[in-house]
Amino acid sequence: MADAKIIQLGSRGRAGRGSGSSPSASARRLAAPQAARRSQPNDQPGPDAPYESAEAPSTTLSTLVSQLVRLVSGSLGVLRSVPITQLRDFAADPVHGLVSVAQALGVEWEGSLEETVEFVRTRLRGAYAVDEFGFDPEFTTKIYLPLLRRLAESWFRVEVRGAENLPADGSALLVSNHAGALPLDGMILHAMVFDEIGRHVRMLGADLIFKTPYSHDLARKTGTTLACQEDAERLLAANQLVAVFPEGFKGLGKPYADRYKLQRFGRGGFVSAAIRAQVPIIPTAIVGSEEIYPLISKAPALSRALGVPYFPITPLFPWFGVLGMIPLPSKWIIQFGEAITTDELGPGAADDPMIVFNITDQVRETIQQTLYRLLMQRRSAFF
């Protein structure tokens, strides 16, 4: 079966460290695609066949580590080329420096200076509208999404597939896998869908989000509301595009070894909400989000003490503090599947547990199979 090959962890019992003279199996495997890209003669013996078909694409932990090392050394090379004179100029005239940095980034300097000042004025005067859920479209489109767009394009290099399955109008329910310790996948999904069809995705989040300071604030501002039957139905009735992550914290807090293995899909509440509102369900598979924070342990004792579902222990966090919170730059693919329609069922079907379970299973299987297919196509977690 396909799944058994992909989610395999470890290198079949052999440690991937290599012996003094020859590099490890994973390092050799890594060298091959790079050499092919450069199309230069290579003195490495290396496997003859291309990486994809030579053997099962099992990303071992050691591969991950060596890929990371390569990435870090690459960025160190970039650091070396930073011109010292420019830094000196910056120190001499910080305002000027900030303006140039902002111009280079192109984030804040979208329009003219007058527009920016006008925007700040409306914000400071509170002259902006929020909807009944606390969603602030102005903040979301002008500040939140541009920042996420940067992250999505430069850091995760997100590739969107199947955008034609997204409805241009009317309500729909996006159902997606959830992983990566922090709900970055939801945020990136919001940015990508907005760029594709110009609609905001309204997320449904767990109550912990609304219990936690600042997370409550950001979630409400960017259109997230509590994952409950009432709010789901209210959003769907208002012709909104709604996204739900039925794995919840079970998904976010799954260990690295379990990546891309979908957890239980709740009690199927999202399906009954979709049936009741007669809206299509769009299965969405996100590949890449499950590698951003490779969770080694959930630190159960600590998380119980803190009252959170899990405390993420990754190779970098909490050991490197804030630096350890930087997500690993995995390569993301978001695939929107074909819609599963519910309108032929009739609203009464929402109360039939068998129908609800069947559709829940169908959605879950679709996402799981899409994940496997995307993983087969992907060359590595980071490139």
Partner: protein, 343 residues
């Protein structure tokens, strides 16, 4: 006087009560009797004023001698007065009990309108975005006005059970907002520096007093039995309200909020109960579609408009629009010169 209806209005000395009584009394064939423990501050128009305490059995005498058929109960106190929390509870809970006991015995009595509050829904992070009338609080309010409102509603339900012939309407009103409104929310928003819970931006929903009066008049004139949410449909966030007020905020960690509330209470600025702190942390809003569907009533002023009216009448804050504009002009001048230099 040959009036068709005799209407008793409690809590008539307060703003909402007096406006309601005055408007109602202006109608033909309606006799309005207003009662309160203190003389009215405002003109009651053609309404009669009887100085009586609803906590006293004398109330049943008033109902009997005047032949009251409708009781509009507005003597509900959301903010502790000079008597403190215990006196507030006594007015709310014991007062309602006595009033309803007197009503139950009266033969002429056939209709009851009660002012309840959004507080019955409590406030917690597990709340849905909007409460409908059928939902109950996810976190039952255990103190303060929220608990009082719940108890008042339970007494009202008890009366409806014992007197099935009586038409009972309960209106859950949102926080009143508008020029001159004095409530714990308006007092809080008027503090020179407003402490608020760090990392939370509560959703606030308001109701203009004129809309509250209109809704109460509507259910008094027409028979609309049931419990209804009455509020403007839109919401305003706390940070937005503070910016409109020009008030700088002081961020307080959630665990320290009760302590800060105690300090503010001791400084006699605003009196908060725990459930009100929760409401200003997590925010809450009501779905008003049932009342609109049943009666066709739509509030004239949105929450934002009501707030704007209040801001217009309130003292300008430290961060008044003029100062904000001045600071912005200075910053933009600085940036403009920098962009010119950078080419």
């Amino acid at each position: 006087m040959a009036a068709d209806r005799v209407i008793l209005v409690t809590g008539v000395s307060r703003d909402l009560g007096s406006r309601f009584a005055r408007t109602l009394a202006a109608e033909e064939h309606v006799e309005v009797v207003g009662i309160d423990v203190v003389p009215p501050r405002h003109d009651l128009g053609k309404a009669d004023f009887v100085r009586a305490d609803i906590r006293n059995p004398v109330i049943s005498k008033v109902i009997a001698t005047r032949g009251v058929d409708t009781v509009v109960h507005l003597a509900v106190v959301a903010t502790p007065g000079p008597g403190g929390r215990s006196s507030m509870k006594e007015i709310n809970v014991i007062g309602t009990m006595q009033l309803l006991a007197a009503c139950q015995k009266a033969a002429t009595f056939r209709k009851l309108v009660v002012q309840s509050s959004i507080s019955v829904y409590g406030a917690s992070p597990r709340d849905p975005a909007k409460f409908t009338e059928d939902m109950s609080a996810r976190a039952q309010p255990r103190t303060g006005f929220g608990k009082d409102s719940l108890e008042i509603e339970s007494y009202v339900r008890g009366l409806a059970r014992r007197r099935p012939d009586v038409i009972v309407t309960t209106l859950r009103l949102a926080n009143l907002m508008g020029a001159g409104v004095d409530s714990h929310v308006t007092r809080y928003l008027s503090l020179p520096v407003v402490p608020r819970v760090m990392g939370f931006d509560a959703r606030l929903q308001f109701l203009h007093p004129s809309d509250a009066v209109a809704a109460l008049l509507l259910v008094t004139r027409r028979d609309v039995p049931g419990t209804f949410n009455v509020a403007a449909a839109d919401i305003v966030t706390l940070s937005q309200a503070l910016r409109k007020m020009g008030r700088p905020s002081l961020l307080v960690p959630q665990t320290a909020a009760p302590l800060v509330a105690t300090l503010i209470r001791q400084a006699r600025l605003v009196d908060f109960s725990t459930d009100q702190i929760d409401a200003l942390t997590y925010g809450r809003a009501m779905d008003t579609s049932r009342f609109t569907a049943e009666t066709g009533f739509v509030p004239q002023l949105s929450s934002r408009a009501a707030l704007t009216e209040f801001v217009g009448a309130a003292k300008p804050g430290l961060l008044s629009p003029e100062r904000v504009d001045g600071a912005l002009a200075a910053v933009s001048q600085l940036l403009r010169s920098a962009t010119v230099r950078s080419g």
